[in-house]
């Protein structure tokens, strides 16, 4: 796999534990949230709840889920899928941490997925 599309977006410590920050650039026009769990796993999701597009980056992170701040829908961080009985999903993006630096895989504009 080419590394050309892997973007460095900062150090792990720049994201609060059990927290999230939004990325300044967008992904095909949609915002991206980068999450850090209590065991230092990192996930990247489109920052729009499938329910009413609430900013997931502002939600409460527990385990590997986040609860949307607008109406409380709970989304799995690893797959972007809503926890039952709610239905819906948001897109996830590949992300990896190397030597404490977070890399996000962003497709070039015009290139799908």
């Amino acid at each position: 796999m080419s590394t050309a599309n892997w973007k460095k977006i900062g150090r792990l410590e720049s994201i609060p534990v059990r927290g999230s920050r939004r990325l300044c650039s967008s992904h095909f026009g949609r915002p991206i949230a980068v999450f850090r769990t209590s065991d230092d796993r990192v996930f990247a999701l489109v920052d729009e709840c499938p329910h009413k597009k609430g900013p997931l980056s502002e939600g409460i992170v527990a385990g590997d889920t986040v609860a949307c701040p607008l109406h409380g829908m709970v989304i799995g961080l690893s797959d972007g899928v809503a926890v039952a009985p709610d239905e819906g999903a948001v897109e996830t993006l590949p992300v990896s941490v190397v030597d404490g630096e977070i890399y996000l895989h962003l497709p070039e504009p015009g290139v799908s997925g």
Partner: protein, 817 residues
């Protein structure tokens, strides 16, 4: 003249697109017989099929019209049904077996189903045709009423039955001033006896509806539009809208013209056939064994029988059962079934009445069997009484316990208190708001292995609207899952502990971190969830001020970023205005901030402050810096904490003012700001009993009087308005401050997280609060001291902290490197 070629399918034409008609079609579709039919449905209204029962909820604003639609146009298409909406049938030719619509359409039938429903009754009085007069029957009526509520202020409802009361309440909810005229001396006299009717009237009177009982409407006055209602005894009620809700009568015109046998309604036999065997009828248009119908439950039974007959089951017969009535007004519980009073000297009436709690129960016995029940205030046993009536069960053994309800009656009898839901028919409606039956709930519980009320709610919507049926849904859950008792109310699914148990453990076992609480009490999740974490964070903060370190990650976004998130992800910022008093300099600074950061909306709030709406998150620290430098601090408008202290101008300016209400309000706000509480807390101080600061619907309200101050507690606005209870009257401002602080501390230490003072006061009782905060001076002082101690750590302006650089990562996005 029909030109259609003969199809191999039986042509079923349905006249009417209402609830009874479409329930029959749905039942038919679910049966084996559906393959036999091609179905055409005529509807007079230009809509798909909707839930007429829910019109009250649409009027009151609890539901949108779309939420009441039962079957969408797509549903008709998917099921191969031809829907002709907005073109009513005007004639039936029984010889040729055709119907003709208003637009001249002629459709042939093999079987015809009449479900023409009912029409509102109109009194024969002058003025019915004036603009501004309407019925309460269909969505067009509701639209008329809503349009009136937007531009007009005064409504008169004629008719104090079920429909009239729901119309009155809906219009009241929409902000109109509402008067209700009723011919009889008490309300709902066909469903309620005199005491229950009076209690209902008192409750609605308190909610602001004016009643004109024993009121004979003589005429509706007005020239170009309605101006008022003139009563026979000379009373005149001005009105911009008059709603007629005196009753309904079956709509039989079409059947009569076609020569079918009619009485008050279209005569049907037990198989739901009319006098013409090819023609069936269901719903409010029919008369069965001398009875006509206005409630939904028998309509469902008729639909089922009619569908079975259409599908070829000649054995299906309709028999009417005892019926129950309930009223869809949030917070008012009424139940009635069967007889209202003893009919002869051999009947027995047993009555329980508790005016203080607003509870009334009456059961009527005949030959050892229950024949009637009227309940007001506590309706939990309604379905049980109804079942006893339907089963014609001999209840002599429990006679003296019957009125106290099922739990008590059966506890003392031989019969074990086991499943009462077993005998309940599957189509018994449990949730009236959402039209959910016992069968639907049980099926969901079984198929999806539901175990909690919350789960049943999210899967079925049962009890999700007004919540009145929550206890029945819990009962069904216990019945299906076999659980002996209803699940305990825990904080969330992470724990088996209740709020009270967690609070007690934190103080008694000196638990000082979230991890300690979770491991000590056996949490099932390592780090909790979005429900328990904010609760634990608050409980720890309250128990250990100055020791426990607040966890920002366990706070809802608003409390973490100290602003209110809006639906588009921007924030609103509200600086504190002490007692609602501001200055030219502050206003100028706010105006500068609005200009500098291009803030789209600036609004005055209900709490006497100014709201800057639409602030981008990245701008928050700069906005706060500018407000800080003009001397303003956070108004905590986002917090489960002290929000506002609303005041009137008081004795300094007002000619009625008895005390300096503004000054006292500012002192209270200086005392209480920054405190974290289980839910938001709002205060108000009014300078005289005219109460311009609306102190009687606040968590703590002070009403100044000559020589003193009334301290009122436990009020709130919101969905269910609760008026404050009077705690005491004191002579000095110092006492007001101390008692307010002590009361808030007791609330802080005792209430459940997200429980406002109103439900908390209702739960623990005024006397329990009075005992600690008023009667026991030492205890009051101790509470107040703990409040002051906790305030030492809480009174830090969160904006200034963040302007100084705290939590900087919160307000800047990540950048690509």
């Amino acid at each position: 003249m029909t030109m259609e070629k003969k199809s191999p399918l039986i042509r079923l034409v349905v006249v009417g697109n209402g609830m009874a008609a479409m329930r029959t079609v749905e039942e038919l579709l679910q049966s084996d017989g559906s393959a036999l039919y091609s179905i055409t449905v005529f509807g007079a209204e230009p809509h798909p099929n909707y839930n007429r029962i829910m019109l009250s909820c649409v009027l009151a604003g609890d539901k949108s019209f779309d939420e009441t639609i039962i079957n969408t146009r797509e549903w008709y298409t998917q099921n191969g049904i031809t829907l002709i909406a907005g073109d009513p049938v005007v004639a039936i030719d029984r010889e040729a077996k055709t119907v003709t619509s208003q637009s001249g359409r002629v459709v042939a039938y093999d079987k015809l189903l009449l479900a023409t429903g009912s029409r509102p009754l109109a009194p024969s009085i002058p003025g019915l045709g004036l603009p501004g007069v309407c019925a309460f029957r269909d969505i067009a009526d509701v639209e008329k009423m809503l349009a009136a509520a937007r531009t007009k202020s005064r409504a008169v409802v004629i008719g104090g039955g079920l429909l009239g009361l729901e119309a009155a309440w809906g219009l009241k909810q929409r902000g109109m001033s509402v008067a209700l005229v009723h011919l009889m001396p008490t309300l709902m006299e066909r469903q309620l006896d005199v005491p229950a009717g009076q209690m209902l009237q008192k409750a609605l009177d308190r909610r602001g509806i004016s009643f004109f009982t024993s009121g004979q409407t003589e005429r509706i006055t007005g020239t170009d539009a309605v101006e008022g209602v003139q009563l026979g005894d000379g009373r005149f009620i001005p009105a911009d809208l008059v709603v007629l809700a005196i009753g309904i009568r079956p709509n039989i015109d079409l059947a009569k013209a076609a020569g079918l046998q009619i009485g008050r309604g279209i005569t049907v036999f037990d198989d739901m056939r009319t006098s013409d065997p090819a023609i069936f009828a269901v719903g409010e248009c029919v008369e069965h064994r001398g009875q006509v119908f206005g409630l939904v439950a028998p309509l469902w039974d008729q639909a089922k029988v009619c569908a079975s007959q259409l599908a070829g089951d000649a054995s299906a017969v309709f028999a009417s059962k005892a019926l129950a009535t309930s009223l869809k007004i949030t917070g008012i519980d009424v139940f009635s079934a069967g007889a209202l009073a003893a009919a002869d000297p051999d009947d027995d009436e047993i009555t329980l009445r508790d005016d203080a709690r607003g509870i009334y129960k009456k059961v009527i016995l005949r030959d050892g069997k229950l024949v009637g029940a009227v309940l007001y205030g506590d309706v939990t046993d309604g379905q049980w009484y109804l079942q006893l009536m339907r089963d014609k069960q001999d209840v002599s053994a429990w006679r003296e316990r019957l009125v106290f309800g099922r739990a008590f009656a059966e506890a003392g009898a031989d019969k074990p208190s086991g499943p009462d839901y077993a005998a309940m028919p599957d189509d018994t409606q449990i949730c009236g708001c959402n039209g959910i039956s016992k069968g639907t709930i049980c099926k969901a519980i079984r198929q999806k292995n539901l175990t909690t009320l919350a789960e049943v709610r999210s899967h079925t919507k049962a009890s999700a609207s007004c919540g009145q049926c929550s206890s029945q849904v819990e009962g069904l859950l216990a019945y299906v899952t076999g659980a002996v008792k209803v699940a305990k109310k825990t904080i969330c699914a992470c724990t088996d502990s209740s709020h009270d148990e967690v609070r007690a453990a934190i103080t008694e076992r000196k638990l000082k971190t979230m991890d300690a609480v979770r491991s000590e009490l056996g949490w099932k999740t390592p780090e909790g969830c979005q429900k328990c974490r904010p609760a634990l964070n608050y409980y720890l903060l309250c128990a250990w001020p100055g020791e426990y370190g607040d966890d920002a990650r366990s706070r809802f976004v608003n409390e973490r970023v100290h602003a209110n998130i809006q639906k588009n992800g921007t924030y609103s910022v509200i600086p504190r205005m002490w007692g609602g008093v501001t200055t030219a300099a502050e206003l100028r600074a706010i105006a500068d901030v609005a200009d500098k950061y291009a803030i789209p909306t600036v609004k005055v709030t209900g709490g006497q402050r100014i709201d800057l709406l639409g602030v981008k998150k990245d701008d928050l620290p700069a906005v706060w810096r500018d407000l800080n430098s003009a001397g303003m601090v956070s108004g905590h408008a986002y917090a489960k904490g002290l929000r506002t202290v609303k005041t009137c101008v008081g004795s300094e300016w007002c000619r009625f003012g008895t005390q300096d209400s503004t000054g006292l309000g500012i002192k209270l706000e200086k005392l209480c700001w920054g405190s974290w509480t289980p839910h938001k807390v709002k205060l108000a101080v009014s300078g005289c009993p005219r109460n311009c600061a609306e102190a009687t619907i606040k968590d703590v309200g002070i009403v100044c009087v000559e020589g003193g101050y009334d301290i009122l507690i436990g009020g709130n606005g919101g969905i269910e308005v609760r008026v404050t209870d009077k705690l005491t009257r004191v002579a000095s401002e110092e006492e007001v401050l101390e008692i307010t602080g002590a009361f808030l501390q007791m609330y802080r230490e005792q209430a459940h997280y997200l429980e406002r003072t109103a439900p908390w006061v209702a739960r623990v009782g005024l006397e329990a609060i009075r005992a600690r905060v008023i009667d026991d001076h030492k205890e009051r002082r101790a509470l107040f001291d703990r409040f002051l101690f906790s305030q030492k750590f809480a009174q830090v302006d969160p904006w200034a902290e963040r302007v100084a650089g705290s939590e900087a990562h919160e307000f800047a996005p990540l950048e690509e490197v």
